[in-house]
């Protein structure tokens, strides 16, 4: 059992959810997603982000519009669709359950003390 592999698996699971939650807050440019995630201390390579966005877009969870840029080619700004929102809320529900479960499992002693 490789610890790095396990860690990577754990991160990968929540990556999509995190990206979606950034996009949910409003129209966003991919490099902004990277910056925001970096600010939250969750690092992602742009090379990994683009295929993920394309996949989500092809699944109709996201849509984008072109915005002219004064520094370079026109930019793609991504925004969430209704379908994406439903998908996101499902994920959020799962995440909350998961977080609670993990919380409950990792802090059994504290809980016990609280009950007392």
């Amino acid at each position: 059992m490789d610890i790095q592999n396990t860690q990577s698996q754990m991160r990968k699971g929540v990556l999509e959810f995190c990206i979606l939650s950034v996009i949910r807050q409003g129209e966003v440019y991919p490099s902004d997603i990277v910056d925001k995630m970096k600010a939250a201390n969750l690092h992602i390579l742009e090379g990994t982000l683009y295929p993920l966005l394309t996949r989500l877009k092809n699944a109709e969870y996201l849509t984008y519009r072109w915005v002219e840029s004064n520094s370079g080619p026109p930019r793609k700004y991504f925004v969430m669709t209704d379908k994406g929102l439903a998908f996101y809320s499902e994920l959020e529900k799962t995440w909350k359950e998961l977080a609670d479960a993990v919380q409950a499992l990792t802090q059994p002693i504290e809980n016990h003390q609280n009950q007392l």
């Binding site: 790095q4 990577s8 390579l45 090379g47 683009y50 394309t54 996949r55 080619p73």
Partner: protein
Amino acid sequence: MKKVININFQGRVVPIEENAYDILQKYVDSLKKYFANEEGKDEIINDIESRIAELFAETLKKGSTCISDDDVNNIINSMGRPEDFDGEEEKVKTQLGTEEKTNNTNQQQAAFTSNVNRRLYRDENNKVLGGVCSGIANYFGIEPLIVRIIAVVIFGIFFIPYLILWVAVPSSATQVIGSVRKRLFRDTDDKIIAGVASGLGHYFGVNPWIPRILFLIPFLSFVTRWSSWGMFDFPHFVSLSFSPGATILYIILWLILPEAITSADKLEMRGERVDLNSIKQTIQTDMEGFKNRAEKFGEELKHKAEAFSKDFTPKAQQFGNETAYVAKKASRGFGDVIALIAKIFAYFILAVVLFSIVAALFAVGVTFIGLSPAAEYIINDGWQSVFAWGSLLLFIWVPIIGIITWIIRRIIKAKNNNIMRYSFVAIWLVGLFCTLGLAVSLRNDFRYKSAPNEQQFALNNPTVNKLEVHLSGGKYFTDKKTFKIEPFHFLEDDTVYVPNTRIRIVRSANDSFQVSVLKVSNGFSKQQANNLAEKIEYGISQKDTILSLYKGIPINKDDKFRNQRIIITITVPLGKKIKIDEKIGWHNDVHIGFNDDNWRWRGDYSEDGEYYWESDKEYIMTEKGLERTNKSAFEDEDNNSDNLEKYKRSREELEREIEEQQREIEEKKRELQRSLEDKQRELELKKNELNKEIDTVTRYKYQKAVADSKQKDKKNKCSSNDLTELSSRVYMLQVAG
């Protein structure tokens, strides 16, 4: 000085260094390969390209005149390379620690030294020939010099692996930009041992069975030797038939080649065709400047050697930090190498040991099965036979199956299965218990020895001059269908005949032959042993000079074999002869003893004679003991004088022969000389004749020439005559006209 070109990138004109452009081009190519199977790959690549274009624009805005190598590398590092995508999270973690030092060289070094992303590359920055050695050194984190020295020392073995690694291992130059070139991987999806052969197959674009067979060829001789192979004949196996070259190469490749895990790896593995041209190119580019680098390396070697010698001579106590560092590093490197070699060696030894265990157990197991028809003559029903079967199946066959299963599982890399392992061990322990039980109960059954029970066998005609001991009774049990297991040679329907007999020959006190039979047996009690000894029915008969011994002691299933044995004592009177048939000598112990009444046998040598007993030879009883009647050479002292004479005679004969031959040679010489002289004479004669002939020829020619000239003169005269005639005719005609 660098060349700058303008490119149209995502609809914009970008001034970029030519080198940087190449890097960018290769990066985009690698992305295309990585996303080749992805739905919407064009869009992904387009997105990434436009992001890169944006970053370019930012760089140019800051005031750069063009895009440089570093700019491109930085951008690539922040975007990530295909090989980083899959293992991305790990990288994130390491980056968190080192706060994003995305410097190019750092990256490269990280690839060399970090455990996560370690791969074998040829080191472009520190190479002598192809950079293979320094690449290996980097891979193992040891001093390149050590690898080089080892490589030079074992040049013979390392030569071919070097060439293969040179061609197949990517250079660190290509690594920086996400290599496009094909790379050599182990293909674990299509593996038999470790996927080395199939990886090579992918690399050279051939069927993986071709490298596999190439690896196997050296082993074929090993397989063909199998038949002539003794069961424990390991030196053969290790030295001759085992080809170290192929195995070492395989092990090196196994250790060094990365497994193709990610899809990027797999793409690279199948990548661009490697043909002669690309190999040539690799080698050509590397050969450029080889001389300089070699000189540099020589220099370096010299320095280091000096440093080493300084290090090891007690005089030079003040060596600098530098040398100490190098020495320390070197010793660590040596340690690593030795550890590696030890590891390989250990695996090899382990393989040999496992193989020998399996082979030995297999032999024992098969032997037991071969013995099984005889088993019911030894083993009691009930617990003992249960133990016997338990021993055979669980103690012997289970480990064979276990080891083979383990090896196969290791080879196919199946996960360790503890349940299976423990159940194997448990079953084997049951087997061990059975074996111990069997051993103990058999030992009990054989525990007591019967009291000696000697009977005289009355000979019909004890005063014959010569006694020949023969074997009677038929067929051998040992045909080729079953294994030959002593002492069960003869097996009939319900009786087994055990040739557990010994023959003792002693001198008789009177002038008649005497034969006595001593019956002995073992048993679980003294009583049973005596019983069994008494029950032995052994057939002896005499007819004239022939004493027939039966082929063995009959043992039936009820009484079992409890080491029933008989000792036949034949007393031979002085001056009388005895001969023991070969068949008896073959299947029984024959001992010649005199004063030994303790029933203890001392090998096949008699007490005083020190000569070897041979069956099928006639012996005569003398005062000194038994002696061969037909003495051959080198038997004893009496013979020696004979031998000397023989030698003398033979020597004389030889001398005579030599003389004769010399005479012959001389005669031949003389003959040859005579013939030579004859020939010479003949030659001279011929010469003279030829000379004569030449004389006649010249004379003839001269005569002919003279005759010719005379004839010519005549002709000339004729023609002049004709002319005058003609002219006179003309004249006459004119006159007439």
